[in-house]
């Protein structure tokens, strides 16, 4: 990128790196976010760019990966990661956030945010082309952005970008006596075409994470000529062509000869559906029917470790589940009760029992060590006498009787709730577990008085706090409302400097620990397993598979 277009904050960032005030990873993350090309950022940070040039990688060959092959109606409305692992080879994104949490351009060459982070100019790679031969243009990108933001499409990108790209309006229609609301672009100029390879997003509000949102997993760039329909042999800009897609059985992708980028190593990848029984997964891996499996449950770890020639790949994530009560209902309206619930828990013990140690300790504030602005606070340890004391002070000297809603799958959620109920019992809190089928649970997850809710990995700590704990936002399942917290959060969201943001973050984390609505025992670790002959696999925190990085050694 040219210097005169550079975001003014980049020079400060360089200085901070020189003064060792931020680490290299943080520099890379923020610099690439602000539009510095990833290669240049790595060079400034004095790090070798990750081995994307794969000289030693063997060429050719085929591998099989065990993974659910689920239905795809529309690539932009997917709610599961598995189908995107097949699609990711065939269609591409504007950006990609890699395994090290660094965001780089895929179809985009660069992006330039304005200083107030409200105007984002996106430049598409000159060489980017559809496999059909037509160049990938700004019109294609705009068509896709408009499509995911149309409520009729049903894409989850809408919820992500609603705050800064859309506005609510009254449709005039009525349902059950209430006016029906819908959303539309907040302005005619919200998405602007500059030229064939350049477009601009004019946002309603400042937003730091635009490049990360462009890598939200269903945000694929589909061919407008095919109206975004999914089919075997569909067009795309990616290196692979889907040659078979049989739901519940298998999916096959084959390397295309007309890909615009660097040729890929593998000729063919087949995804094999092994059902959901973990026994089948291990058995298929052991007898060489598959060369790798998409996800390894912690209960399978010991068995897989015993298999020869199989590598286990793992990474700590910002995925978690939190226990939360409704802060506007008794007894959770008392901060002392909320704190007693936290103090009764021995996080390490939960991890040891449920995951046999394969998870990281949570600190009850929902900001993960992998987040750039994470501030280390003194660890909260189990303290049963203090928990009892707090309960008594709150007016519950004889303890409490509660009912917690949770779902049976994944199995570790129910297991950790069960372990925690035993710990609460010691503090005089008697908790009954109400296990609901997952589908029913998701109907009421934000309505039950007391529940255990799963939250997925998000790249920034402020994103999570803003989604879940700001007063009055749709996903604030605990109805938590703290003006001081809200004020600090807005402040943190406006600070680009991760060092300075961390100072505010420490205060936010402390409020979460002392006053906040959640008990958070752990952070998830995710694993996959591959045969040693499979090269180039790196575990992504959201379990994305990048087919273009893989290769296989010939037997």
């Amino acid at each position: 990128m040219t210097v005169d277009h550079e975001h003014p904050y980049l020079s400060q960032l360089r200085q901070q790196l020189r003064d060792n005030r931020i680490d290299r990873r943080e520099f890379l993350r923020t610099a690439t976010l602000l539009g510095m090309a990833a290669g240049a950022a790595y060079a400034v940070a004095g790090l070798p760019a990750p081995a994307r040039a794969q000289e030693e990688m063997p060429k050719g060959g085929k591998i099989r990966i065990g993974m659910h092959v689920q239905e795809i109606k529309d690539p932009q409305t997917l709610s599961w990661v598995e189908p995107t692992n097949v699609l990711r080879g065939c269609v591409q994104y504007l950006t990609v956030t890699d395994q090290a949490n660094i965001t780089r351009g895929q179809l985009l060459e660069k992006w330039d945010p304005s200083e107030d982070l409200k105007t984002w100019t996106l430049t598409i790679r000159q060489e980017a082309k559809w496999r059909s031969g037509r160049p990938f243009t700004a019109d294609d990108a705009i068509w896709n952005i408009k499509r995911v933001l149309d409520p009729k499409t049903g894409s989850s990108v809408l919820g992500l970008m609603k705050g800064y790209m859309l506005e609510e309006y009254d449709t005039g229609a009525q349902k059950d006596g209430k006016p029906v609301k819908s959303t539309r672009l907040w302005s005619d100029k919200a998405i602007e075409k500059i030229d064939d390879k350049t477009l601009r997003l004019n946002c309603k509000a400042p937003q730091l994470a635009v490049p990360e949102h462009m890598f939200h997993f269903p945000f694929f760039m589909l061919d407008p000529a095919e109206n975004g329909a999914f089919k075997v042999g569909m067009n795309g800009t990616g290196p692979y062509e889907i040659v078979a897609y049989n739901v519940g059985q298998n999916a096959i992708v084959r390397a295309s000869k007309t890909y615009w980028g660097k040729p890929v190593n593998l000729d063919e990848v087949e995804f094999v559906d092994l059902g959901t029984d973990s026994g089948a997964t291990i058995a298929a891996l052991a007898s060489g029917q598959v060369d790798g499996v998409y996800d390894v449950d912690f209960s399978e770890l010991d068995t897989i470790k015993a298999l020869p020639d199989i590598n286990i790949h793992s990474v700590t994530t910002a995925q978690t589940s939190v226990v939360r009560g409704k802060c506007d209902q008794k007894p959770f309206n008392d901060a002392r009760v909320r704190q007693a619930l936290k103090l009764a828990i021995d996080q390490q013990k939960v991890i040891d029992i449920v995951f046999r140690g394969a998870a990281s300790v949570g600190e009850h504030h929902h900001v993960a060590p992998v987040h750039p602005e994470y501030a280390k606070l003194p660890m909260i340890h189990q303290d049963i006498p203090k928990a009892k004391q707090l309960l008594a002070a709150a007016g519950y000297p004889d303890g409490l009787k509660l009912e917690i809603a949770c779902k049976p799958s994944p199995a570790w959620e129910l297991a950790s709730v069960t372990v925690m109920t035993e710990m609460w019992k010691q503090a005089g809190i008697d908790v009954k577990i109400n296990v609901m089928p997952a589908a029913s649970f998701w109907q009421v997850w934000d309505k039950v008085p007391f529940g255990y809710t799963a939250w997925t990995h998000r790249p920034l700590g402020v994103m999570v706090l803003g989604l879940a704990y700001r007063s009055g936002v749709p996903w604030n399942e605990s109805n938590y409302s703290n003006p001081e917290f809200d004020r600090l959060l807005v402040q943190a969201e406006g600070i680009l400097d991760p060092d300075k943001r961390r100072v505010v973050m420490a205060k936010l984390e402390q409020i979460m620990q002392e006053d906040g609505p959640v008990v958070q025992p752990l952070w998830r670790v995710v694993q996959a397993a591959y045969h040693k002959k499979v090269k180039g696999f790196r575990m992504h925190p959201t379990e994305y598979i990048f087919l273009d990085e893989l290769a296989v050694e010939k037997a």
Binding site: Q70, E71, K73, T77, L78, S79, W80, P151, K152, G154, S156, L158, G159, K175, V180, K181, S182, T183, V247, G248, Q249, N250, E270, V272, D273, L274, G275, T276, D277, G279, A280, I282, A283, A284, L285, A286, S287, Q289, A439, S440, W442, Q443, W445, P474
Partner: protein, 295 residues
């Protein structure tokens, strides 16, 4: 059948919104869900949708599967075919094995052979399929490396992949049939007409094959017919564990995926199959037991 289909439809009605959530994910907005429901015809009254479905079903239009995105009839067809192959080999091994052992054991009640057969039968039948699947794959896949671990049949039909599912089913079931055969055989051997035949000096072989077997097989035959039923829906565990794409795992996938049309079709087939096998077993009974013919 009508009652079963209606019941299933009503059960689905009790969980409104579920289909849209399953389709668009837990984080979709209520507005997106409403739009999806309307676009896919879920906003019409339940009774209207039920009768529309029933009419179409009766004339052979079973609708589209929500999770497989293909005609229900086609999916059910291929899955039934796979389970039929599994079932064929299951019975091909089960019938000679269990009847043979049962007859051998029942011929001489109390002999060492009888005791040995009984012991084996009780041992194998007492291990449920969900345990024996693990056991069998631990031995043949992980220790001996003889057999492939799953039976997806993706590279075309493979006998090697069929071995373990059939083995597990037979292990669980043969003891039961063999024990019943043994019991009826022992009863028959104690009847006066068999003793009379033996005392008259007919060859033992002839007594067994011509006189005893026919009467001893009535109960096992009825049981075996019932097992066709059991196989259709009861192989879920085995098919699931070995990732075998049969009818049992289809029922499971359809119910987990809230695929109403597919589940309705599966239920209809299961009920139809039950009726059919009952009829066959009643007819077979007539052939085996002459006394029934005059009634």
């Amino acid at each position: 059948m009508l009652a079963a289909s209606l019941l299933l439809f009503l059960l689905f009605e009790l969980m409104p919104g579920d289909v849209a959530v399953a389709e668009l994910g837990p984080y979709s907005t209520p507005e997106q869900r409403d739009l999806w429901m309307a676009a896919n015809g879920y906003d019409q009254p339940a009774m209207l949708r039920y009768f529309a479905w029933l009419g179409h079903f009766a004339i052979g239009q079973w609708g589209e599967s929500r999770i497989f995105l293909a005609p229900v009839a086609r999916i059910v067809g291929t899955r039934l075919e796979n389970t039929a192959i599994l079932g064929f080999w299951f019975f091909a091994v089960l019938i000679p094995l269990s009847l043979g052992m049962g007859v051998l054991a029942g011929m001489r009640e109390g002999s060492w052979l009888d005791r040995a057969v009984s012991a084996i039968c009780i041992l194998t039948t007492s291990v449920p399929p969900f345990a024996s699947t693990v056991l069998v794959s631990a031995v043949f896949v992980f220790d001996l490396h003889w057999l492939p671990g799953t039976s997806t049949m993706l590279d075309g039909f493979s006998y090697r992949q069929l071995v373990m599912p059939v083995m597990v089913l037979v292990l669980y079931d043969f003891g039961y049939i063999a024990r019943i055969t043994r019991a009826t055989m022992a009863d028959v051997m104690a009847t006066p007409y068999i003793r009379a035949a033996i005392l008259r000096g007919l060859p033992y072989r002839r007594v067994i094959l011509r006189h005893a077997l026919r009467n001893a097989l009535i109960a096992p035959f009825t049981l075996l017919m019932l097992h066709v039923n059991w196989l259709i829906a009861g192989v879920i565990v085995v098919e699931y564990f070995f990732a075998f794409k049969g009818f049992g795992s289809l029922i499971l996938e359809a119910s987990l995926g809230k695929d109403l049309y597919l589940l309705e079709a599966c239920t209809m087939i299961t009920v139809a199959m039950a009726t059919l096998t009952q009829t066959i077993s009643d007819l077979g009974y007539l052939v085996l037991n002459p006394r029934m013919r005059s009634v």
